[in-house]
Symmetry: C2
Subunit: 209 residues, 2 copies
């Protein structure tokens, strides 16, 4: 078998990828304004399921862009998610990416309370006096805790990106976020997602600015 | 709709997830010895395609474990992949994770040569006097360059994890690695993969030790 490489210049690879995705999506319906996010998730995963499983609250894209413009910080539930976000671009608007998962106090509180570190991380974030975008790609427990904090009136996030991946309470944790009335969200319904997807949704928003 | 959370203790979540994956795999054939890797890829992505698309060269798992035991380093093509690998566990065997993608000299050489930074990173890695496991989850250009270096006798890696994701030359770059006769590889055939998959294959190996 002869293996032939397509001759695409380095700077053109992403553009060409998005053309292929657009082509293969054909007339799949995407919510107007969300296309760059959906396509970047497909770009990140080569998984066209994201054309169907991504749920957007009303007007969430504009709200999220405003939050970033106003200096919102992004809180992730993995170092990997943090690593994947374009921090230079975010810094242009005064934001930064925070991840508390490796913090000693978080480990201690989680142990004391018998929770996951992700839960303790969310509590630490909720105590910040900042506009916050949560980008949750791993821990359903983080998402459940965010839901509780929001329901209790202890947290009003600018946006919840709810895309944990997996098999235990992942589906349910996302449904909890989808049930919130006044919280802007972007959620990958079902089992799929990941830190890479959380990061790429943040980047899609940053590149829309 | 009532959303009911499954009552699983934090420490049990991963175990329960692997049980569900095993259950749903049913009698899907997996190559003996590769099960922990395949299942961890599914765990990381909630995508059962990995039960079929992962290709293993003959005896690769034992070779990879030996390489780690002998202090091999892991070279990634993204900071995100580096972030996702259990560096503490790797350090127990004397290894470390290296990623040259943000290095200034790599950016300069890439610019000078009109290549991607990923290509320049692979060249920098090839010049190391170390046993190397390459964990490539993003850049097909990195994989193509590795293929060339191996063909030219300039590089003898312990293992090539070839799991870039995407649409331009991704499929082809993986087929090049699959065509190598004497190079241990783990490759996700087709378009799928990612830095998360690259990291999780490394972790699956580490957890088998």
């Amino acid at each position: 078998m002869k293996i032939e490489l397509e001759n695409v210049k380095p700077a053109e690879i992403e553009k060409r990828s998005f053309e292929i995705i657009t082509e293969e999506l054909g007339d799949t319906h995407l919510i107007p304004g969300t296309e760059p996010i959906v396509k970047r998730c497909i770009h990140t995963s080569a998984d066209f399921d994201y054309a169907k499983n991504l749920m957007f609250s009303e007007g969430v894209v504009e709200k999220a862009l405003d939050a970033i413009r106003n200096g919102a910080v992004i809180v992730t539930d993995t170092q990997m998610g943090k690593a994947g976000i374009n921090k230079r671009k975010l810094a242009e608007y005064g934001g930064e990416v925070l991840c508390f998962m490796s913090d000693e106090d978080v480990a201690e509180i989680a142990k004391k309370n018998g929770t996951t570190r992700a839960v303790a991380s969310m509590e630490k974030a909720a105590a910040l006096d900042k506009k916050i975008i949560f980008a949750i790609g791993n821990a359903p427990t983080a998402l459940v805790r965010l839901y509780e904090l929001i329901q209790d009136g202890k947290l009003t996030p600018e946006l919840v990106i709810g895309v944990p991946v997996g098999f235990v309470n992942v589906v349910q944790s996302k449904e909890l976020i989808l049930s919130l009335k006044d919280t802007p969200y972007i959620v990958a319904r079902g089992r799929k997602g990941g830190s890479n997807i959380a990061a790429c949704i943040c980047n899609a928003l940053l590149y829309m600015l």
